[in-house]
């Protein structure tokens, strides 16, 4: 067997020990004509250059896919009707559909895909191509991977004539808002064929995972915790009858009533203090701030009453409270409503500070926060609420808990460590994909998940592997979270592994302006990350960066 296909040998289901030895890659020596009713694709060609063909259909769309395995280190090409995938299918959703079989089996760079499709609309076409692709993959795959495809429903033709519109219904089309959000991302991915990293907000997408928004993930988690423990209750402005200013607490008041879900007047200091007092007396309040900008009114109760009482009383008083709400940037809300409070709250001992990124982060960490006996500040993000996310079967469990104080490596890499939290993790993943595609740089993206206690070990291990460190945050640079991370790294043995001074990407050191073009440049963007990485890795030294790295 040719050495370059060696990495696929194990996956071949059908063994070759003779047969056609023609070395021509273009000859089609098919044993029979494939029809749309063939359940599995047909392996054709010779052992040195095998390929398979399969057909797929949905509604009136008919697709045919030809698969050829890629050589090692070659990146795959996906073509539909002789143009790039991204040119034929405008919508990201459609591209994602087409490549879903690769996602399930994690075989992105394994095949060159040549597809032809006619008839039907874009949705049927993408489905048809998807089906053909999955069927074409079968001959190349080990039984366990075929089973995965089968269980994901990818090997079965969709017989439906009419789609349903309600979200969360089995097989329903996604809501308009989500499609819009995805469309906004589309331009960035126009040229990448198999890039799904920036779409995925959860690293797993398995057979029984549910697709929902982060808002739903959070809502369901809070719902379950209120049901689980009668001491848990929720209070805040507009959380009850209004269903939440950002609809995070939708339906909770309808379900649990006035006792468990309580509207407060606009008096942060008062109701935060009342919540803390209730926690002292043994209840488990969830105190919502409409945004954390308003928590400054109550910061004395958070820091002096909640955070310190366990210590001052030598363990006699406990305060099992969760302060939660949107934090950091929104869109166009200007200086007083756009601040990230990660650095403020993580400064104070006695508080646990959590900043989730993905839907599973939100679910697992809010549950851990509510069940924790210490005061927790839970920093969400308004712009994240509407983001689509996949919640795996494991994460749907009512007892799904993520550990507080453990970071998560969202993307593994070898060239630079990018540490971030909250919404900026998405930005880092986008930047990492771009760095990979355009510069061949493999960035490792670390999602802190918790700011206090911070998981230094994960950061140190990553830095020891990649030798470069970049921190990205939505807060200001002075006395910020990035400063803390870099201080810790320079105090540890990971310092010796650094090949360049660590760098920070932060919000610009100014109050946030209103005008859209100005607001944009105050926020960390992909270009800031890429510029910093290029300088750090000596790909493009920037004369304005005065850290004398080079």
């Amino acid at each position: 067997m040719a050495a370059e296909y060696g990495h696929l040998l194990d996956m071949f289901r059908v063994k070759y020990d003779g047969g056609n030895t023609s070395s021509s890659s273009s000859s089609v020596a098919s044993t029979h004509r494939t029809t749309v009713n063939d359940v599995e694709g047909c392996l054709e060609g010779n052992p040195h250059e095998p390929y398979s063909i399969a057909l797929g259909a949905k509604h009136t769309a008919r697709a045919r896919v030809e698969l050829r395995p890629c050589a090692e280190k070659e990146s795959s090409e996906v073509r539909v009707n002789n143009v790039l995938l991204s040119e034929h299918f405008d919508y990201i959703q459609d591209r994602e559909q087409v490549l879903f079989p690769l996602s399930v089996t994690k075989m992105y760079d394994s095949f060159h895909i040549t597809a032809t499709v006619q008839g039907g609309g874009r949705s049927s076409q993408s489905n048809a191509v998807r089906l053909a692709l999955a069927r074409a993959m079968v001959p190349f795959l080990h039984e366990s991977l075929v089973e995965k495809l089968r269980l994901a429903g990818l090997l079965t033709r969709d017989p439906r004539r009419r789609e349903r519109n309600k979200i969360a219904q089995h097989g329903a089309r996604r809501k308009k808002q989500i499609m819009q959000a995805m469309r906004m991302l589309a331009p960035k991915l126009a040229n990448s064929s198999a890039s799904l990293a920036t779409l995925r907000v959860s690293s797993k997408r398995c057979m029984a995972s549910k697709h929902m928004t982060i808002r739903d993930a959070l809502n369901s988690a809070i719902d379950e915790e209120i049901a689980r423990d009668e001491r848990v209750f929720l209070l805040g402005e507009e959380v009850a009858q209004y269903d939440g200013a950002y609809k995070v607490t939708k339906n909770l008041h309808k379900t649990y009533g006035d006792k468990r879900v309580i509207d407060t007047p606009i008096t942060e200091m008062g109701f935060a203090g009342i919540a803390v007092g209730a926690a002292f007396a043994g209840l488990r309040p969830i105190c919502e701030f409409m945004t954390f900008n308003f928590s400054l009114q109550a910061i004395d109760q958070i820091l002096n009453s909640a955070a310190k009482s366990h210590y001052m009383s030598a363990g006699f008083v406990t305060c099992p409270i969760v302060f939660r709400g949107p934090n950091g940037m929104a869109a166009g809300v200007a200086a007083q409503h756009s601040v990230c409070y990660g650095a403020y709250y993580s400064h104070c001992p006695g508080l646990k500070v959590i900043a989730p990124y993905s839907g599973e982060d939100y679910r697992g960490l809010i549950k851990s926060a509510i069940r924790d006996d210490d005061p927790v500040v839970f920093l969400e993000n308004e712009l994240a609420y509407g983001n689509p996310t996949d919640i795996s079967e494991e994460a749907q469990s009512h007892d799904f808990l993520l550990p507080i104080g453990k970071a998560h490596v969202e993307r593994e890499g070898s060239d630079v460590t990018i540490v971030s939290f909250s919404k900026q993790v998405g930005l880092c993943l986008e930047a990492a994909e771009l760095l990979k595609q355009e510069l061949g740089v493999n960035a490792e993206v670390v999602n802190l998940r918790t700011l206090r206690p911070m998981d230094s070990d994960t950061i140190f291990n990553s830095v020891k592997k990649t030798n470069h460190l970049l921190t990205v945050e939505g807060g200001w640079p002075q006395s910020g979270v990035g400063a803390e991370i870099i201080a810790r790294v320079s105090e540890s043995d990971a310092f010796d592994y650094l090949d360049a001074p660590p760098m920070r990407v932060t919000q610009a050191d100014i109050p946030v302006p209103y005008a859209a073009n100005l607001e944009r440049i105050t926020q960390p963007q992909v270009e800031n990350i890429v510029r910093s990485v290029k300088h750090m890795l000596n790909i493009e030294v920037n004369p304005n960066i005065r850290n004398y790295a080079h």
């Binding site: 008062g270 803390v276 210590y311 001052m312 363990g315 924790d372």
Partner: protein, 375 residues
Amino acid sequence: MLLRQLFRGLRSGRASMSSAQIELSQYKYHNLDEGLIPGSTTLTADEARDLYYKMAVIRRMETVSSSMYKEKIIRGFCHLYSGQEAICVGLRSAMQPQDSVITAYRAHGWTYMMGVAPEGVMAELTGRKIGCAKGKGGSMHMYAPNFYGGNGIVGAQVPLGGGVGFAHKYRDDNGVCITLYGDGAANQGQVFETYNIAALWKLPCIFICENNQYGMGTSVDRASACTDYYTRGHYIPGLFVDGMDVLSVREAGKWALEYCRSGKGPLVMEMKTYRYFGHSMSDPGTSYRTRDEVQEVRKSRDPLLLLKSKCIEHGILSEQELTGMDKEAKKVIDVAQEVAKTAPEPDLSECYTDVFTSPYTVRGADQSINVAVGH
């Protein structure tokens, strides 16, 4: 007047009454009908002993603390309760076991009344291991079952007390939270935020302003546009009480606790009182008031003397018995003082404990110090 009453007691010999009907001071009512609290109450000999003894212990404890502070054995803040004893003793005698209390930093008297022995209080003041907060809290951060401190930030305890009241209502355990604050804190915004929510949600909270006439160095006239603190709750019914008369305090407490327990919502009370010492030990207490004023109160309105004279006048307790209780209190506090002075300081490792309930590691003042706690 007082002296005549004392002599009368001496002349009549030993006490023979087991109880007597004693007149109470005048109350003032806001948004409440007049005369809700009867004008007199029954005081038994046992009750009288209990009330007097407790006030005597607190008086003695605070005096000894002031001298320990001058000897520099107590450091930092030390806010003394001398003169205000009637409030904590009177209210406590009206409370039921499920009721809670929260107050500000003038908390030594309350800590003792809520069950911490004098040694526990004084060793906490001297920063020793056996202090009620293991020496880690100090004067302003003492706690006990159903007693939520001891709070250092002026006014912050009021919303906290609202929260404790909320928990009582949530659990439906028939408890009431007594939340105390001073005339200085009475103007804080968070106090009014708590009034609002307590009235809206009908929380079982009694908000009590211990009006000792001065917020640190500022007299009430210079701090508040309205000095009728019992009316400041506006829509919340209010009651003015003579805070130097332990029996008036007790009866007001009984009535108020019953009112709140029945679910009618919160109450505001003002207890007019006086502190003999300055605001804290760093304040001599004479730059904003005259010594004559302090002496006048000591002579005519002192809580211990008032109770003493009533007991003797009505023949419930004799002079000897009362003096005996003074001596008893002194002995107890002398022992406590000795303990507080000689007890060991906390272990250095205690510095890092009790930050969280779950295991964690702590950084010390330099990088060589990394402590794992609870692992």
